[in-house]
Amino acid sequence: MASTANSLRLCLRTSRQTSSAVSPLLRRALSTTTARCGMPGNTSYLTPTGVTKSEIPFYNQTFQDPSEYLQTVLKDASASPRDKQRAQQMLKAWEEIPIDQKRELQQLTKDAQNEMVPLRRHMRTRPTQFWSAHEQDPDLITDEIGEDDFEEDDIMAGAHGKLEEHREYREYARIAVWEMPLLANFAKKFEPPAEGEVLRFRYTSYMGEFHPADRKVVVEFCPRDLDLTEAQQLKLCKLAGSRYNPEKETIKMSCERFEHQAQNKRYLGDLIAKMITTAKDPTDTFEDIPLDTRHYKKKKNQISFPKEWYMTPERKAELEAQRKRSLMIDTQKRARHELVDGVQMIEAGIAEMEPVEELVAVKRGKAPAARPLRR
C-alpha cells in the first residue's frame, strides 16, 4: 500500500517537472478550492491571462487514475516526444502495480473527492441578510491549532481577554467623552405640532440595516382635531373599529403592506382621507350602531387620587381651621368635664360596683392547732 502510494507520488513528481508550462487543471484529490474551470461556458474564471479555453490541455476533463492521464498525454499531438517517452515509462510502471492496489487507490481518490465537494462549494454572501447574521464573530477564537501551547513568553489567554475587555471599556469611555458631546450639535428645539398638523406618524429605522419592520409606518390622530361635526367624529370612530382608543380618544393605524416606507405612508394618508370622506357622507350616519369599545381593556392599578385631596393653600387653611376648632372643642369639653375617657369610666364603674368579699383558700377539716412558740 505504502509502496504504491510512494511510487505514485514519485511518478507524479516527475511528470510535474517535465510537464509543459501550462499546468493541467487536474482536480487535486485533497483540495478545498473550487473547481471553477470545470463549469462550461464560464470563460471569465480562467486563471492564466490570455489563455483561452481551447488552449488549455485537458480542459473539462477529470481523471480517475494516472493511467488515464498518461494515455491522454500519449495521444496528445502537442506533447513533446520526451514527454511522451516519460509517459510511456510511467504507464508501464503503473501497469505493473497489482490490480487490487489500483482499485484501492481509485476508491480512495473517489472517496476523497466526494468529501471535498461540499467544502469546495462557493460560499456566497447574500446582500440582504437579516441584521448582521452573516458577519463573523470577531471574538471567536479561530484556528485552534497550537492554541493550548504555552510558550512562557506571554500572559495567559484569560488575561488577554481581560485586557481586551478594558480596551473595550476605554473605547466606549472615549466615545462618551469625546464624541457624544458632539451629538448636542444635532439637537433641535421641540416645536409642538401646528394647528394643521393633525396626523402623527411614527417610522422605524434600524440605522441603515435591513430589517423587515423598517417599512412599517404608524399614524395616530385624534378625530376631534379634524374639522368634523360630532356625528361625523363618532362615525369616524366607528369606522376605525378596534383602532379607536376610547380612553385617549385617538385612532391609531399602521401599515407595512408595501415594500417601502413612503408607499406605506402614502397608503395611510389615502386611507385616512377616504375615512374622512366616508365619515362626512350623510347618507348613512351609523346612528343605529353603538360605538364598540370591547377591544379596549382599561389598565388595572391606575391609582388616581380624587381632586379634593390635592393640597391647595385653601385646603391647608381649611384643615388648619378644622384643627383649631377641634382643639377648642376638646378644651371646652375638658373644662366642663364632659370629655369621655374610657379608662376613667371603667375605674368609676368598678368603684360603683358592690364590693365582693375576697375568697381565701381554706383547707378542709379542722384548723391546725396553734403551736407554742419555741424559744
Binding site: 462618551a176 391647608k316 382643639l327 371603667i346 368598678i350 383558700a361
Partner: protein
C-alpha cells in the same frame, strides 16, 4: 460587568461636568449668592406650613416681602398653639418642645411606638404562637376574636384553691381589660421550672431528671402551649371560623376560674421538680458542668 458600569458612569459624569461647567463659569457671583438666598428662603418657607406658599418670583433682584417667614404671630395663635401642646400632653413651656410641631420624641422610643412592638408583649407572643403556616393575619384575627370573647364572657368566678398571680385585679375588672385577662390567665398557670432529662445519667439507662428555672417568656410560652393543647381537645359547639378562637378563649376563662386541666399540668411539673431537686447536687452533673 461592574467595571464597565463604573467606567461608563464616570464617563457620563465627566460628560455632565463638561456640559455644566461653562454654565457655572458664566454665572455671575452675585447671582449665585442671590440664588442661594432664594433657595434658603424657599426651603424655610416649605418647612413652615402655616404661612401661604407663593413660588419664588421670577425677578431675582427683589424679594417680595410676603416671601419672608412671618415671625409675628397673633397672641391668639400663640395661645392656641400652647393649648394644642397641652392637648397632646406636652408642657407648653418646655424648651425642647418649643419650635416643634409635635415636640421631641421621648428617648429611647417606647416599644409600643415601634412597628414591630405595636402590641402588648403577651398578646404579641400569643399571636405568634397561634400562627400556623406563617399566616400572621389570620392569627391576629383569631387573637382579636379571643379578646372580644373575653370581653363578652361573664365575670369569672375565681377558685380560691387556684390563686391567680399577684397583680391580678378584681375579677369584675378582667372582662373590661381583655389583655390583662389574658396576661393574668397565662401568668397564673405559667410553670416556674421545667424538668431537664440527662440521658442515661441516672444509671441503668434511666434519664437523670433535673429541675431548671424558666425565663418569663419561656414560662408564658409553655403555659400558652398547654392552653392551646387543651383547646385543641375541646369540641366545637358551632361551625365557622370563629370556633377555634372561641375554644381558646373558653380555655382561658376556664384557667382563670381554676377549672382547666392546665392547672394540673403545672402542678405536676412543680411536684416533679420538687421531687428531683436533689439531683441538682448530683456528682455526675458536676462532671458535666
Amino acid at each position: 460587568m461592574p467595571p464597565r458600569l463604573n467606567i461608563l458612569s464616570s464617563a457620563c459624569k465627566a460628560l455632565a461636568r463638561g456640559v455644566t461647567r461653562p454654565v457655572t463659569v458664566a454665572a455671575a457671583p452675585h447671582q449665585q449668592q442671590q440664588n442661594a438666598f432664594l433657595m434658603a428662603a424657599a426651603r424655610r418657607f416649605s418647612d413652615n406650613t402655616t404661612s401661604p406658599t407663593t413660588p419664588p418670583g421670577q425677578d431675582d433682584s427683589v424679594l417680595h416681602p410676603s416671601m419672608f417667614p412671618q415671625n409675628q404671630q397673633s397672641d391668639h395663635q400663640i395661645a392656641l398653639s400652647k393649648l394644642e401642646m397641652v392637648a397632646y400632653g406636652l408642657n407648653p413651656f418646655d424648651v425642647s418642645v418649643d419650635g416643634h410641631k409635635f415636640g421631641l420624641p421621648e428617648l429611647p422610643i417606647p416599644s409600643e411606638m415601634h412597628k414591630s412592638y405595636r402590641y402588648d408583649a403577651v398578646v404579641n407572643l400569643m399571636t405568634k404562637l397561634l400562627m400556623k403556616d406563617g399566616k400572621l393575619a389570620k392569627a391576629q384575627r383569631d387573637m382579636t376574636l379571643i379578646l372580644a370573647y373575653l370581653r363578652k364572657a361573664s365575670t369569672p368566678k375565681l377558685n380560691p384553691a387556684r390563686p391567680l398571680v399577684g397583680y391580678a385585679p378584681a375579677p369584675e375588672f378582667l372582662p373590661l381589660d381583655p389583655v390583662m385577662y389574658l396576661r393574668v390567665a397565662i401568668d397564673s398557670v405559667a410553670p416556674l421550672i421545667k424538668i431537664r432529662h440527662f440521658k442515661g445519667m441516672a444509671g441503668g439507662g434511666r434519664a437523670l431528671e433535673v429541675p431548671a428555672p424558666l425565663a418569663e417568656r419561656q414560662r408564658r410560652r409553655t403555659a400558652f402551649g398547654w392552653i392551646l393543647d387543651a383547646a385543641a381537645k375541646k369540641k366545637s359547639k358551632g361551625s365557622g371560623r370563629t370556633m377555634f378562637p372561641h375554644r381558646v378563649a373558653e380555655e382561658i376563662v376556664a384557667v382563670v376560674e381554676g377549672k382547666s386541666s392546665v392547672w394540673d399540668k403545672r402542678f405536676e411539673v412543680h411536684k416533679r421538680g420538687t421531687a428531683v431537686r436533689a439531683n441538682l447536687n448530683d456528682f455526675r452533673l458536676k462532671t458535666l458542668m
